[in-house]
């Protein structure tokens, strides 16, 4: 069944048991909305020098957007900034591939669990769900780097 390519076991797992959910202390906070469906996320990042020490978040959305935030947390927390940015870029590439990129070993190595989202890229309406938290993370990180609009709770 084609649906299974989107709703991988792993995605459903993350959806039911999200990692790192909840808002904690951070260096910057952003609020992103997917206007096409109303999914929302509030996300904070915390850095210690170059190391991303926490991504905390709260929001509402479908299994894809929730699982994606959970995977992001699992994958990026603890990474150096440059490494995290690389992972984000590869994830973006995969999601915008319209199902046409066949993930190779190199990609799998970079994306780990996030590779499970490959099937979602075939569903244009859902790509934005998968990207919501990743765009929020990028934005929050840019704020930290730019020193602009820092908010802490």
């Amino acid at each position: 069944m084609k649906l299974d390519s989107m709703y991988q076991e792993l995605i459903l797992d993350h959806y039911k048991h999200p990692h790192g959910r909840g808002l904690r202390d951070g260096d910057a906070e952003v609020h992103h909305v997917n206007p096409t469906c109303g999914d929302e996320i509030t996300l904070r990042v915390k850095y210690d020098g170059e190391t991303l020490t926490d991504v905390s978040y709260e929001g509402q959305g479908c299994s894809i957007s929730q699982a994606s935030a959970s995977v992001l947390n699992e994958l990026l927390v603890g990474k150096e900034l440059a490494e995290a940015q690389k992972i984000q870029a590869v994830f973006l590439e995969l999601m915008q591939s319209k199902g046409k990129v066949e993930p190779d070993e190199e990609m799998e190595e970079v994306l780990e669990d996030a590779i499970a989202f490959a099937g979602v890229s075939k569903y244009p309406a859902r790509v934005k769900c998968a990207l919501l938290s990743w765009m929020a993370w990028k934005d929050a990180t840019a704020q930290v780097l730019g020193g602009a609009e820092r908010k802490t709770a």
Binding site: L3, G38, D39, E40, G61, C62, Q66
Partner: protein, 418 residues
């Protein structure tokens, strides 16, 4: 097949709609339950479009050649058809726009630029409701921001109806315009026009009714409604995209200022000043959606040939059946009226904790097209503390078998995420 009293001859009707034969996802025939978003088009409408473009296409109003005359006769003939469809006292009260949103914005802008006694400014108020489509909220927010007028609204009761208990506070002596939907696109609620119009008239406020979800589904009589303006959209009533209607009372259309400026809407132009053509042309700047008006005319003919009262009865039967069956689904909560009384054929619901996106996706896989999200009525979701809903909405070609397919599909959704 389930037989319900009041149903139309669905098999015959479905033959008119080519899209309903569409097969999706490896052999599943489409079950189209997204009619509140847009309707499918009967062959009669597509034929009218083709005939227009293949034989009569020309720009309207300013030509002496035969094509221009034919195109003008077709375009203006559609105005006659629409006027008859809504029982307008005069054809000149029917303005063609691009969609209902433009119709609603048109009224908001007219009032913002109007002279007294119509002018909306910082000393005046605007009244809407919490169940409006965004297209009947944002224009008023913009008008309110730009003029300083105060925007007020009716809240909702727990069972999805307008709370009119504070009507005298919402509609006051300062109110210039009351704008509300006849039928909610998210909950299906049919609103009590009389009570609102009566209060508006008491204080001398104008009334704009958003009939986008009514015109396709029930007999519409603008004189009986007692409103000053009525807006609706072609694509939801078997017509093409790209065409909407604003009906307005003649004397208002004469008094109110134009909105968009350009060709067709003028009487005479010099570089120093211009005068405007009488309504409806005053409000139709530029080349109008000619083919789309012709298509809407054909849609109106089609609906009329079946009979709007029969269509309403059909949808009522389907809705009653659907509400009953949906309420049997475990964990399903209908957002809006839970009976078929005073409600249209759009039914929103939540299904336990399963996000509507996921509900919609799994239904889609079975060929069932529903809409998920806030349906351009986010305040309703906020009001009921939910992020979104799944909405099934029916039309004249919807069958009890399609309701059954939906129910089976929801069972599958529950299993999938169970």
């Amino acid at each position: 097949m389930t037989q319900l009293p009041g149903l139309l001859d669905i098999e015959a009707i479905r033959k008119d709609f080519p899209l309903l034969d569409r097969v999706v996802h490896d052999g599943k025939k489409i079950v189209y339950l997204d009619n509140a978003a847009t309707s499918q088009k009967p062959r009669q409408v597509l034929d009218a479009l083709n005939e227009y473009y293949e034989r009569h296409n020309a720009n309207v109003h300013r030509g002496v050649h035969v094509l221009a005359e034919e195109a003008t006769a077709l375009y203006e003939g559609s105005r006659d058809k629409v006027a008859a469809f809504i029982n307008a006292p005069s054809r000149d009260e029917v303005i063609f726009t691009k969609n209902a949103s433009e119709s609603l914005n048109l009224v908001a802008n007219m009032l913002g630029w109007a002279d007294e006694p119509y002018r909306v400014d910082h000393e005046t108020e605007i009244a809407i409701t919490e169940m409006e489509h965004h297209s009947n909220i944002v224009p008023w927010q913009l008008l309110s921001q730009r003029t300083g007028a105060k925007l007020k609204w009716f809240g909702l009761t727990d069972d999805g109806r307008l709370d009119l208990s504070n009507i005298e506070e919402v509609i006051t002596e300062k109110t210039k315009i009351v704008s509300f939907t006849l039928v909610s696109n998210i909950m299906g609620t049919v609103n009590p026009v009389d009570a609102i119009v009566r209060r508006a008239q008491e204080v001398g406020a104008l009334v704009l009714i958003d009939a986008s979800q009514a015109a396709p589904h029930m007999p519409l009589d603008v004189q009986a409604l007692g409103a000053d303006f009525v807006a609706f959209t072609g694509h939801k009533m078997c017509g093409p995209t790209g065409i909407g209607v604003l009906w307005g009372r003649q004397e208002l259309l004469e008094d109110l200022p134009p909105f968009l400026g350009g060709g067709e809407m003028i009487e005479t132009v010099s570089m120093h000043s211009s005068t405007y053509a009488p309504a409806p042309h005053k409000f139709e700047a530029g080349t109008p959606p000619i083919a789309q008006a012709v298509g809407l005319g054909a849609a109106v003919d089609y609906l009329t040939s079946i009979g709007m009262d029969k269509i309403a009865a059909h949808e009522h039967a389907i809705t009653e059946y659907a509400v009953g069956r949906l309420l049997e689904v475990p964990d399903l909560r209908i957002i809006g009226p839970t009976t078929a009384e005073d409600r249209g054929a759009a039914i929103s619901f939540t299904l336990g904790d399963i996000h509507p996106h996921d509900v919609g996706q799994v239904l889609d896989e079975q060929g069932i097209a529903v809409r998920v999200g806030h349906h351009c009525a986010r305040p309703v979701c906020l009001r009921y503390g939910i992020p979104a809903t799944t909405r099934a909405s029916f039309y004249l070609y919807s069958s009890p078998a399609e309701v059954d397919a939906l129910i089976d599909g929801l069972e599958h959704v529950r299993n999938f995420f169970g």
